[in-house]
Each structure stands twice: as C-alpha cells, then as structure tokens.
C-alpha cells in the first residue's frame, strides 16, 4: 500500500479525494487535512477562478498564496513592466525580470510554484470598454490596483456584473481591506462616495510604503478569496479592516450600504460604466 493510499484513508471527503491525483493530495495535504477544507474543499479551490487586478504590492502576495493553495485559474491584469523600485515589496518579481511585463514575470513564478493551475496574463490597462469582458470569466476579483480611477472602475464593473471582490488599499504604514458582495453589503462607493481631489491623498510613489504592509494586506485578500471559495468563515462584508503597522493594530469598522449609492443604492444613477479619469478629475 502506497503512502498516498494510507493518506487517503485519513482524509475526509472520500469521493472527492478520488477526484484528486496522488500528487495533488500530497501537494495540498496540509490544508486538505483541515476539517473545513478536506477533499471537497480542495476540489472547490481547484475549480475556482480568480482575477487579480494589479501584480504589485498587493497582487503579488495575494496571487502567490492563491497559487500555492491550488486556486485552479488565476487571471493577472497589469499593464506595467517590472522596475527596480518594485522589488522592495512586489515579491513575484525578481531582479532578472527588470523590464519584463509584470504579468509575464508573475506568471513565471506562479507556474514554477504550482504547475497544477492555469495562470492567464492580461497585459493591458483596464478601461470601461474592456473590464466587463475580462471579469466575466472569473468567480471573484481581487483589487490590488494603485490608483483611484481603477478602484472606482473595478467597483462599478463588479457591482454591475454582480461579481464579488475584495478591495485593499495601502499607504506608508497603513492598510485597509473590505470584501464586497454586490447588494449583500456596501460597495466601495458606499464607503467612499467620491475620490479625493488630485494631490489631496498621496500615492505610495509620493509618500512611501513599507513592503511588509503590502504583504499583510495582500495575504488578507488571499484569505478572503479562499474563505469565499470554500464557503467557510465570515467575510469582511460591511466591515472595513484597518491595519496600522507602527502600533501593530487591527480595527474592524462597521460600514453600511448607502441607500443613496449611485451604483448599488435603491435608485442607481450609474447603470453603465463612465469615464473614471474624468470622475477623479484627472483630465
């Protein structure tokens, strides 16, 4: 009797275990053994399709853990190339990737970590014209973008397409994260109805970011994805988790759905995607 066969005997979800290969059982054994996952949960993860928007500070650690866990299809969206100043926090990119598209660099590491999954790179900038077509093929979206126009674009597209997503933002030593299930809880516009005027809230490029803070928030996003896929635990729906690294504190703030929200409220006024550069006063 092989050691794999012995392991099968100890693991739950016998029928689902039979649908996993011996290598998959070994690869994922440390999570299959969790009662909340088992063979059934592992099958769910392998059948889950997640789109990670941004292969930067948030998207890198998030996608890395999703790949490790065996999320079956991971889409990666980013229009940028790897720069030296990215490597302090964007852990999917190495020095030899400088100048390469981030999605190709990220795919290389994810497939090296786990050849058992499908990784689909989208080397493009998301716009009102293409985003709904891109997110259509996925069960869940991770927003790891780095600018306000994309954040409002992702929110509106996900709400209009009824697509669950997890939002996170980081700056200096601070981070915030919330999971948005359209119509079940508040959306990003319920939380922040309007973006700040240009220059009012600095970017990481202007104000800096501790690499490890990006890691903390990106891994929380990955955890939310895995819980969603497994149908286990409580998601951050209607809860903004606020992290501060200097005092090492987490606080969970309650957010409600805004009935006047222009996208998910009772009488929505935004029923199709708009020009988000203009919305953010950037043109």
């Amino acid at each position: 009797m092989s050691c794999f066969a012995v392991k099968r005997g100890f693991l739950n979800g016998v029928k689902d275990m039979e649908r996993l290969t011996e290598e998959q059982i070994e690869r994922y054994s440390r999570q299959i053994i969790l009662p909340e996952i088992g063979g059934v949960g592992q099958r769910k993860l392998l059948e889950t399709r997640v789109l990670v928007i941004g292969c930067g500070g948030l998207g890198s650690p998030c996608a890395f853990y999703l790949a490790g866990a065996g999320v079956g299809k991971i889409g990666l969206v980013d229009s940028d190339a790897v720069e030296l100043n990215n490597l302090q926090r964007q852990i999917l990119h190495f020095t030899h990737n400088l100048g390469q598209p981030k999605v190709d660099s990220a795919k290389e590491k994810l497939q090296a970590l786990n050849p058992d999954i499908e990784v689909v790179p989208y080397h493009l900038r998301l716009t009102s014209e293409n985003i709904r077509e891109v997110i259509e093929d996925y069960d869940f979206v991770v927003d790891g973008s780095d600018n306000f126009p994309t954040r409002y674009l992702v929110n509106d597209a996900c709400v209009l397409s009824n697509k669950p997503f997890c939002h996170a933002g980081i700056l200096r030593f601070d981070g915030q994260v919330i999971t948005i299930i359209p119509l079940q809880g508040p959306c990003y516009r319920c939380l922040f109805p309007e973006p700040p005027p240009p220059g009012m809230v600095p970017s990481c490029q202007e104000a800096g970011i501790l690499g490890a803070v990006a890691g903390v928030l990106g891994v929380i996003q990955a955890t939310e994805v895995l819980k969603f896929a497994l149908g286990k635990g409580e998601l951050l729906i209607g809860k903004l988790l606020v992290f501060n690294a200097l005092e090492m504190s987490f606080r969970k703030l309650t957010i409600q759905r805004n009935k006047q929200c222009p996208v998910c409220g009772d009488r929505p006024t935004v029923t199709e995607l708009i020009d988000y550069e203009e919305f953010c006063n950037l043109i």
Binding site: D143, I209, E247, L253, Q256
Partner: protein
C-alpha cells in the same frame, strides 16, 4: 466630552506625528473645530469649504460610521474613540 481621536498617517504631519490625540466636543462638529484650534489646518483636510465632511473621508465613533448615526451632529461622551479614515489607493 473628552475623547480619543485616531489620526490617519496622512494627517499626522498636522498633529506633530501623533497617531492619537485627545480633544473635547459635544458632537463631531465641535470636536473638529476644537481639533483645528490645537492643530491648525486639520479641519480643512477633513471638511470642505462649507464645513461638510469630505466625501472621501469617513469618521467613526466607536467603530460606527457617523453617516449612519447623526452625521457631524453625532453626540460624544467621555471615553468615546473617534477614528478618521481617508480613502487610500496604494497597491
């Protein structure tokens, strides 16, 4: 009413780097006015020219969003904790 106010990183330049400060006020509006006396300029970052809270900043009293309480008229009591949370887009 003396309450603890948690200052987000982007505004800590105005509070001499302090992450927490103490201030008084019967309600949020008065609290912000008093904060501005101690730390000039902070009100202008939190409120617009009309004195209304900016729409990319949320204020919470003990984890509850004041937009779903009484807005800037939300009453405060001793020992309350007020958090100021701006939108941040870094990724």
């Amino acid at each position: 009413m003396k309450v603890k106010v948690r200052i987000p990183n982007v505004l800590q330049k105005l509070t001499e780097g302090k992450i927490e400060v103490y201030a008084t006020g019967q309600d949020i509006k008065e609290l912000i006015d008093n904060l501005d006396k101690e730390y000039p300029g902070i009100k202008g970052r939190i409120c617009d020219e009309s004195g209304n809270l900016r729409r990319f900043i949320n204020v919470f009293v003990n984890e509850q969003d004041i937009r779903f309480l009484d807005g800037d008229k939300t009453q405060l009591k001793d020992g309350d904790e007020v958090s100021i949370i701006p939108a941040i887009a870094g990724g």
